[in-house]
């Protein structure tokens, strides 16, 4: 195996792992943009997405594509419920209170998932078979291409949504200045709810597409949230493109680190790079220069 093939293989692997971090990072950003909240239950949306999909396709025998959209709707409803039941009723809460609520919510989701689905690990069949594709000596599995493609599609859709649609613009307006947005007739309350629905839906998508590769169990969400949070921070909180680029970067650093340095230290390598970047540019790679 030549060094070129090896590097190629590490890049493929890194991109596959990285796209998961990117998706979770994106979810963090959407809610952060509309509300200034870091939603630590984001990883749980991914887990619930994967689990619901397993139940729909394997338990109820619903075909793949309708089940996929049904999963997104169900998880989006979970997101809305979280916002309506736990976050909306608070009048003028501090950021820290809300963060603690989301951590609490993630524990509740985990517990409920354990009761509903049990402690077993579940798997979904790959969308289009498992025969690996050979590219220059390195292999890439079809599911990785799906993960990458869907991630990029989601990013593109979000960009159009936030730049071109009235609803997207209204959400951005809430992020820039809540009071002004509300004076302009934007229903801030509803925008916040929508941001939870949207980020839950994105979580659901990532859950469904990664389950064939990484399997899913009730306590997988936490680790995904940590890595996704790292991606969001490295990319600059609030920057969607930043989260995606940072997600891919962390993924590639992990696989390169495992391949060329030591697999025992791969998590540490990614974290050291994260810290270094934040020392030099505290707002992250593509964050706005304002400091909170």
């Amino acid at each position: 195996m030549s060094i070129f093939t090896k590097i190629l293989q590490y890049i493929f692997t890194g991109l596959t792992i990285g796209s998961i971090f990117a998706m979770v990072g994106l979810g963090f950003n959407i809610i952060y943009n509309a509300t200034d909240i870091i939603n630590f239950a984001q990883g749980e949306f991914v887990m619930i997405g994967g689990m619901v999909m397993v139940s729909l396709t394997k338990g109820m025998n619903i075909p793949m594509i309708p089940a996929f959209f049904l999963t997104i709707i169900i998880v989006a409803i979970v997101g809305i419920l979280l916002e309506r039941l736990a976050i909306n009723p608070l009048s003028n809460p501090s950021i820290i209170t809300i963060i603690i609520i989301t951590i609490g919510a993630s524990i509740v989701f985990k517990g409920l998932a354990m009761l509903i689905w049990g402690k077993d690990t579940f798997i979904l069949p790959a969308f289009t078979g498992e025969t690996p594709i050979n590219v220059g000596g390195a292999v890439i599995i079809p599911q990785s291409i799906w993960v990458l493609g869907i991630t990029l599609l989601v990013v593109a859709c979000l960009a159009v949504f936030f730049e071109k649609t009235l609803l997207g613009k209204a959400m951005r307006a809430c992020a820039t200045n809540r009071k002004a947005a509300s004076l302009m007739g934007i229903n801030v309350n509803r925008m916040v709810m929508l941001s939870f629905a949207l980020s839950a839906a994105i979580g659901a998508v990532s859950g469904v597409i990664i389950t064939p590769i990484s399997l899913m169990d009730y306590h997988r969400g936490t680790m995904l949230a940590i890595k996704g949070f790292a991606a969001a921070i490295l990319g600059g909180l609030g920057s969607g493109a930043g989260a995606v680029i940072a997600g891919f970067l962390i993924g590639i650093m992990e696989s390169m680190g495992a391949g060329f340095i030591s697999s025992g230290y791969k998590d540490a390598i990614a974290l050291v790079v994260l810290l270094l970047v934040l020392f030099i540019k505290p707002t992250g790679l593509m964050g706005k220069s304002e400091l909170r």
Binding site: Q9, T13, I123, A138, V139, I141, L215, A258, G259
Partner: protein, 390 residues
């Protein structure tokens, strides 16, 4: 009735009530003394990442508790099992152990399920002088021997030796090893290195990964670049399935050996066709039906399997078997010497010939594990099932 008569009547009424209470209390404590319960503690990873270990262990222990009590208990005393969940967390395991010893006053502790937790509670049971029968695999738990600590599982060193023995017979001398960075993985990696050195096997790659990783292609790519003739993967849970899939995806056509944790048909289901040809040394319970009727463990294994599967509706696993062995060894000791921690310990240390789910146990003052590497049967996945190969 005048006031005086009223108060006299009240006084008599009170006295009657008091006497009634006293009589009740005395008789109750007499009857309780007659059938004082024997408390046995257990620490299992019932939730958390090791839940697939702890759940069958808890189920098995509960099943035995009900069975023993229905049959009249031990020497007429009912047993009470106090089970705590360590969640696979060392700190929680330590707290659980302290609670069992100080609050519940148990006679012995069975578990924990995982090596890290088990190693963590050793200082506590040693200091308090409570017999502890661990259900975890690390050889370190009983090597060197600790006075109060026993282990009912096959040591991971046996597993490593069994794998290498099989490889040497087939002319394999260069292996790549992969292990998860946890107590279980660390211990397995150490035993593999030790066994390789003793048995003349060269380790050409030594890769690690985290238990929450979603992909091990990077590590396997590195292994693909070496001249390894076989891969040994040492982990538990989903990572074993992911490694199995990744090996086939990368087109690595060398034998894959998995540590005993792979020994569950759930893993075969999840890995699908990638699992074909995977080798795994496991306890005999998984292949109980395939054993000849004359095998010394056949009856014990089949009885346990039938009872467990009819009660819980899920397939039996080696892990529940550890709880079975640990609890019965303790119960047998209590039956012989009564509720005395020191005597129980001494009895277990000298007990020989107990036929359990893992194998025959022969404990001694220098061996607190009681099993040998023969407690492992080498299995291979063939057409989606485990078959005995060696």
């Amino acid at each position: 009735m005048n006031g005086r008569a009223k108060s006299v009547f009240f006084l008599i009424w009170c006295m009657a009530l008091t006497i009634c209470f006293v009589v009740c209390f005395v008789t109750c404590s007499i009857c309780r003394a007659a059938e004082e319960t024997y408390k046995i503690g257990a620490i299992f990873s019932i939730t958390g990442s090791g839940s697939w270990l702890g759940e069958p262990e808890r189920n098995t222990a509960k099943m035995i508790e009900d069975k023993v009590n229905a049959a009249g208990g031990i020497n007429g005393h009912p047993i009470e099992l106090i089970i705590y969940d360590s969640e696979g967390d060392e700190t929680k395991a330590v707290l659980n152990a302290k609670k069992l010893i100080e609050k519940d006053g148990v006679l012995a502790i069975i578990g924990p399920s995982q090596s890290g937790c088990s190693l963590a509670i050793i200082p506590i049971v040693e200091e308090a002088g409570v017999p502890n029968l661990s259900c975890a695999a690390a050889a370190k738990i009983t090597d060197p021997v600790k006075k109060w600590v026993f282990k009912v599982t096959q040591s991971d060193s046996f597993c490593a030796e069994r794998m290498f023995e099989y490889m040497l017979k087939r002319g394999i001398t260069k292996v790549a090893i992969m292990s998860v960075s946890s107590g279980y993985g660390d211990s397995g990696r150490m035993e593999l290195q030790k066994a390789a050195k003793n048995m003349g096997i060269t380790i050409v790659a030594d890769e690690r990964y985290s238990g929450k990783d979603t992909d091990m292609v990077a590590q396997l790519t590195k292994i693909k670049g070496t001249d390894a003739q076989a891969i040994v993967n040492w982990s538990v849970g989903p990572t074993q399935v992911i490694v199995t899939k990744n090996v086939r995806q990368l087109g690595l056509n060398i034998p894959l050996f998995q540590s005993s944790g792979f020994g569950s048909t759930k893993n075969i289901e999840q890995a699908g066709s990638s699992a074909e040809g995977v080798m795994v040394p496991v306890g005999r319970i998984l292949v109980a039906e395939l054993l000849p009727d004359s095998h010394y463990q056949k009856k014990v294994l089949m009885d346990y399997k039938k009872e467990y599967e009819s009660r819980f509706g899920t397939e039996v696993s080696t892990f529940g078997g550890h709880a079975y062995d640990a609890l019965y060894i303790v119960l047998e000791a209590i039956k012989a010497v009564g509720p005395d921690r020191a005597k129980i310990r001494e009895y277990i240390e000298n007990s020989k010939g107990f036929v359990g789910i893992a194998d025959i146990y022969n404990f001694s003052a220098t061996d607190h594990c009681g099993l040998t590497k023969d407690a492992f049967e080498m299995l291979m996945v063939k057409d989606g099932r485990f078959v005995i190969v060696d």
